[in-house]
C-alpha cells in the first residue's frame, strides 16, 4: 500500500479518511464531537499508553472491506488500528453504552469522591466521565480502598486513594525522565503507583506526572489547597527556557500566579511537556511574556465564572430600571 493512501472508515455512520496505522480513537477525534469515545488512560504523547481503562470501548460491526466479519468483542478504540472499510459503532450501539456505564461504575466504586477537597475538581476527567456516562448513585456498599498519602519529592504529592491506575505517570517517568524509579507495586485492586520506598523523583521533568494525571492522585504541592480552579484565570504565556519549550498556561487569581501548567488541548493532553523550573519556580508575572487568555471550552466549569465577556443587551443599556436590576453583575465584571 502506498504511503499516501487513505483508509475509509465510518464511525457511527460518519465517514472519514485517515492514514494507515491510525487508531479508531484518533479517527474519531478527526471527526470530533459527540462520537469521540472518552479516554482515561490513552495519551497520544506517551508511547504504549492506552488499552487499560476500557472507557473507550467501541463495537466494530464490520471488520474491513476484505473481511467484513464483525469483531467478536468490544475493542479498545485507542489501541485498535483502522482497516479500510471498517464500520465502528460508538454512541449508536447500546452494547457500547452499557459497557461504558459499567466501566464508569467500576472506576468509581473505589474512588473516594472527595471532590470538595480535591484540587483536581473542575478539571478532572473522572468527574466529566461520571457526569456524562455514569449513574446517579452507586450500588457499591463496602468500604472503599484507601492509601496513605506519599510525597514524591518536595513538589509532588501522591494521593493513591484517588488513582484510577491509568499508568500515564508511569509512562512519563519511563519516557521523559532518565531514571526509571516510578512504577506500579502490588497487584489487582491493591496495586499502587509509587516510587520504591517513597524515593523522590529528582528529575527536571518529573512535574509532568501532575499534568498527565486524569484525576487528583498526583497534585502540585505548590498549589495544593490554594484555590479552586474555577476561581482562577488561565492565561497563555511563554519564556525562553533552556530546558523545555517554555510554553505554559499561568493560572491567575487577581495579580498572583497560583500555578503553572503545560497547555492542554480539548482532550486534556498537554501540547508540550514543560520542565520543573518553569512549573514550580517561575511564579512571577515578570518571568513570563503574556500571550493572552487561554481558550477554555464553554462547557468547562473553569469558564463558568469569567464575566469579562459580559455584553449587556442594548435594551439593558437604555433602560435604567434594568440597569439597576443588573447592578451587581456590572460591579462584579468590573471587579474581575
Amino acid at each position: 500500500m502506498a504511503d499516501n493512501e487513505k483508509l475509509k472508515v465510518s464511525i457511527d455512520g460518519i465517514q472519514v479518511e485517515v492514514a494507515p496505522g491510525t487508531t479508531i480513537l484518533n479517527a474519531a477525534r478527526q471527526i470530533g464531537g459527540d462520537i469521540v469515545p472518552p479516554a482515561m488512560c490513552y495519551y497520544s504523547k506517551l508511547q504504549g499508553s492506552g488499552g487499560k481503562c476500557r472507557t473507550c470501548l467501541v463495537k466494530v460491526s464490520k471488520g474491513s472491506e476484505k473481511d467484513p466479519r464483525p469483531m467478536p468483542k468490544l475493542v479498545a478504540s485507542c489501541r485498535t488500528t483502522v482497516m479500510d472499510g471498517m464500520e465502528v459503532q460508538n454512541i449508536t450501539s447500546n452494547e457500547v453504552l452499557e459497557a461504558r456505564k459499567g466501566v464508569v461504575e467500576m472506576l468509581l466504586i473505589n474512588h473516594p469522591l472527595d471532590c470538595p477537597i480535591c484540587d483536581q475538581a473542575g478539571e478532572c476527567h473522572l468527574q466529566d466521565l461520571g457526569f456524562e456516562h455514569g449513574a446517579a448513585a452507586t450500588r457499591y456498599e463496602f468500604e472503599r480502598r484507601t492509601f496513605e498519602r506519599i510525597d514524591i519529592g518536595d513538589k509532588i504529592q501522591l494521593h493513591m486513594t484517588r488513582c484510577i491506575l491509568c499508568y500515564r505517570c508511569v509512562f512519563v517517568a519511563d519516557q521523559l525522565t532518565d531514571k526509571r524509579v516510578h512504577g506500579v507495586l502490588g497487584r489487582g485492586d491493591a496495586a499502587e503507583i509509587s516510587t520504591y520506598i517513597e524515593k523522590a523523583i529528582d528529575n527536571n521533568f518529573s512535574g509532568n506526572v501532575i499534568d498527565v494525571c486524569p484525576v487528583g492522585a498526583l497534585t502540585d504541592k505548590t498549589f495544593r489547597f490554594k484555590n479552586r480552579v474555577w476561581f482562577t484565570k488561565p492565561v497563555d504565556a511563554h519564556r525562553d527556557c533552556p530546558d523545555c519549550a517554555g510554553k505554559v498556561t499561568l493560572w491567575y487569581k487577581g495579580e498572583e500566579v497560583l500555578r503553572v501548567t503545560a497547555r492542554k488541548d480539548q482532550y486534556g493532553e498537554v501540547e508540550a511537556f514543560i520542565c520543573n523550573t518553569c512549573r514550580f519556580d517561575k511564579k512571577q508575572t515578570s518571568d513570563w511574556v503574556i500571550e493572552g487568555p487561554r481558550k477554555v471550552a464553554h462547557t468547562s466549569v473553569i469558564s463558568a465564572n469569567h464575566y469579562e465577556t459580559l455584553k449587556p443587551l442594548p435594551v439593558v443599556k437604555e433602560n435604567p430600571k434594568l440597569q439597576e436590576a443588573n447592578k451587581y453583575q456590572f460591579e462584579r465584571s468590573v471587579r474581575l
Partner: protein
Amino acid sequence: MARKLLLEHVHIPGINTFEVYRQKGGYRAAEKALRTLSPEDVVEEVKKSGLRGRGGAGFPTGMKWSFLAKPEGVPRYLVCNADESEPGTFKDRYLMTHIPHALIEGMIVASYALGANTSYIYVRGEMMPQIRILERAIEEAKAAGFLGTNILGSGYNLELYVQPGGGAYICGEETALLESLEGKRGNPRIKPPFPAVAGLYNCPTVVNNVESIAATVPVLNIGGEEYAKIGIERSTGTKLISASGNINKPGVYEIELGLPVEEFIYSDEYCGGITKGKRLKAVVAGGSSVPILPANLILKTAKGDNRLMTYESLADGGFASGTMLGSGGFIVFDEDQCIVRNTWNFARFYHHESCGQCSPCREGTGWMEKVLHRLEHGHGKMSDIDLLVDVSKKIEGNTICPLGDAAAWPVASAIRHFRDEFEWHVTHGEEAQIRNFGLAHYADPLTVES
C-alpha cells in the same frame, strides 16, 4: 483398558531418568523428526493429528504453529507454558514430576518444527522441585546429545532453559508470561500484535501448554493419522484430566477423548464414584474458570444425549446449559457442598490474582468477592444476586485478557444453575451458617441408581 500415550510408563521406577526413559522407547520421536523429517513435515503431522491446545482454549496446535511469522534473520522462540495455577488443575505438574523427559523430547520436536534455536520452559515459581527435575533432565539430554549444537548430526542447534515464574496466576496468560520472561511485570499485553508475530523480545513466538508439547511425541511416534483416530470428531487423542473433589480416587488420569462423563466419574478405572456413597451435586469440568454445571446437566446435555469428555460435547448448549473442557481440572462436588461458598472461594481467588491493569477486572473481581462473602455469611440481600449477575456481565468480554471472563463465568453460571441456593442463603441467613442447602433437584435421580 483405554489407550495411554503420555502416561503409559508412568509407574515404571526410574522413568524420570534418561536411561529408563530411553529404554522404554523415549527420544524415538526426536530421532525420527531430526533424522527423517523436515520441520514442515512435523508441522504437517501435528496438523493431521488434530491435536488441540491442552491449556484451556483448545486451539489446534498445528494451526497455531503454521501461523508463526517467519521473517528472515529474526530468531523464533518456543515457550512452554508450565505456569499451571488454575485451581483444580495439576496435570502438568504430575507429568513434569514423573516423566520430565516427555516434555524435553516434546520441546525438541516442537522447537525443530518451528525452527527455534532457543526455547524456554516457564515453570510456575512455586514448583521448585519440578524445576530441579527439569534442569536435571535437560543436563541428561544434553549429555546424551539431544540438546546443544548439531543434535544427532542434523545440523540443528537447540538450547533449552527453565525459567521459574514470577508467582502469579496471571503469568500463565501467554502475553503476561512473555512479559514476565523478559523480566518485566507480568501484565498481559494488548493484542494485536499476537505472539506469533511479535512475542518474546518482539520476535515471533509460539506459547504452548506442557501437555500439548508432550503430546507431539506420541503424535510423531504413532503418526498423525493414527493419533486422529483416537477420540471423537474434532476432539482427538488423549487428554490428562486432574480429578479432584468428593471422589474416591482423585488424581491425574489419561483418558481417550470421547469418554462419557458418567463413566469417568463412576467407573473404578477412573474416579471410582462419589465418596461415602453420596450423591453428585455439581461438577466444574475444566478448571475453576469454566462454568459450573449441576449433576443433571453434566451427565446429560440439555438435548438428552450423554455428555462426553470432548471439547464439543462439554460445550454443548453454550453457556446456557454447557461448559468447557478447559484445562481438564475436573472438580466434583457431592451433596454436602455449598455452591455459594465455593463460588465465593473462586471469586476470592480471581480477586487476588487480577493484575490490576484494566478497570472492570481490577474493581469488579473485588466487588464480586465482597458481595459473595456477604451472601455466604448470611448478610446478603435478594438484590445482591442480580447485582452479581450484572457485575459479571460488565466484566465479561470487556478486559484485555481472559482473566476477566474467567472470573465472571463461575459466578454467572453458579447463579444461573443454583439460584435457589443463593436465595436460600438470603432468606435463611442464620440457618445457612449451620447447615448446607443440600442437593435439591439438581441431581439426576437416574444416576443415583447406577
